[in-house]
């Protein structure tokens, strides 16, 4: 398999990165959206399975976000865990205290994260 991929890489030259994005990135992502369209078309909005799917969708999105926070990649890893979680708490707190302003919550959380970063670096 890897020899076959290497020769394809050689044969396509400068087009190879685009092929990688389409074959190894786009296809394994888009397949779920397409299946979702055809699986969801016949589904009743009030059925039990639909209720379940909605909860699981929220759970899966949350898990992605939690992982971004708990095992961060790249530059975010330099902010200690207390800084990342504290900034989330401050952002949500400000959002709730300001008649649910998402913008103010987001800005407060970002500022708190920057503050934690400077504190941790000092």
């Amino acid at each position: 398999m890897s020899g076959w991929i290497a020769s394809l890489e050689y044969a396509t030259g400068g087009l190879w990165p685009y092929l990688v994005v389409v074959i190894f990135g786009f296809l394994p992502t888009e397949v779920w959206r397409v299946i979702g369209v055809f699986a969801g078309k016949g589904l009743n909005e009030n059925s039990e399975i639909f209720h379940w799917v909605r909860f699981v969708a929220t759970g899966l999105v949350t898990a992605v976000v939690a992982k971004l926070l708990l095992s961060p990649q790249g530059a975010l890893a330099m902010i200690p865990l207390w800084g990342r979680l504290g900034a989330i708490a401050i952002g949500v707190g400000v959002m709730l205290a300001t008649k649910r302003s998402i913008a103010l919550g987001l800005i407060a959380g970002e500022l708190a994260l920057l503050g934690a970063g400077f504190l941790a670096a000092a």
Binding site: P28, A57, G59, T62, G105, L106
Partner: protein, 252 residues
């Protein structure tokens, strides 16, 4: 923000061209949703540059994959020399969420007269930002205008993200690390305030709290390949079980 909530009732909504509603959606997308997606995809441009890919390949990944975490996974795997088929399987698992997300948002958009390609277009736009905003905004609108609104909104967010990926290609290396960290923090921060702000009943918040608590547990128990799927499935299913019990009790 919810400019459509006071729109005409659904029967007279047909009088206006769908284009008007698409423009409304596009207008609402400029602002926090567009800013959020720009901040979160800037880093992907930097990753594409790190592995020596051209800028347009990075932008193509945003327009086609339209899944920040999966793009990070793909380019990060290439950076560490992972075999491409193995990287593709990791992308496949990390993108599983699009199946229930698409199924959940589809009934809001679908009506019997819509051709399949409309649904496929709407499904392609599904990603964390568009999905969260769609689930929040669409229920308050007449059904006939939801599809053009969602497409106008979603396409603007997608195009902004694609452009931001190209900008990030040149920007990220030049940025002090602490600001790069703040950029990476935008997605989790936006998602947290948005979902906490739109949870109307405590049962809406339950799958969020459960999945968030289960994620580190799952990472510890089943490892980093399957932890996302495990935490999301278990947290979501438990919340569904509680919701079902409550609905049963209310019906008695």
């Amino acid at each position: 923000m919810l400019s459509m909530s006071s729109a005409a009732p659904s029967d007279s909504a047909n009088d206006l061209s769908p284009f008007v509603y698409a423009l409304n959606g596009a207008k609402d997308a400029f602002g926090l949703p567009a800013v959020t997606i720009c901040f979160s995809l800037v880093g992907v441009g930097g990753l594409a540059r790190d592995i020596g890919y051209p800028m347009l390949a990075g932008m193509l990944s945003s327009a086609l994959m339209w899944a920040g975490p999966a793009q990070v996974l793909l380019f990060g795997s290439i950076a560490t020399g992972t075999a491409l088929p193995v990287a593709a399987i990791a992308v496949l698992f990390s993108s599983l969420r699009f199946l229930p997300m698409t199924i959940a948002i589809l009934p809001l958009i679908n009506d019997p007269r819509r051709p399949v390609w409309h649904l496929l277009l709407a499904a392609h736009l599904v990603a964390i930002t568009n999905w969260v905003e769609g689930m929040r905004r669409l229920p308050d609108m007449p059904k006939t205008i939801r599809f053009p609104y969602f497409c106008g909104f979603g396409i603007v967010v997608l195009l902004c993200g694609t452009v931001a990926t190209g900008v990030g290609y040149f920007l990220v290396g030049a940025l002090p690390a602490i600001f790069a960290a703040a950029l990476l923090f935008t997605t989790p921060m936006f998602f947290s305030v948005n979902l906490a702000g739109s949870a109307r009943r405590w049962i809406d918040a339950l799958p969020i709290v459960l999945a968030a608590v289960f994620t580190p547990l799952a990472t510890f128990l089943v490892g980093t390949d399957y932890d996302l799927v495990a935490a999301g499935l278990i947290g979501g299913t438990l919340a569904y079980g509680v919701d079902r019990l409550l609905r049963r009790r209310a019906a008695l």
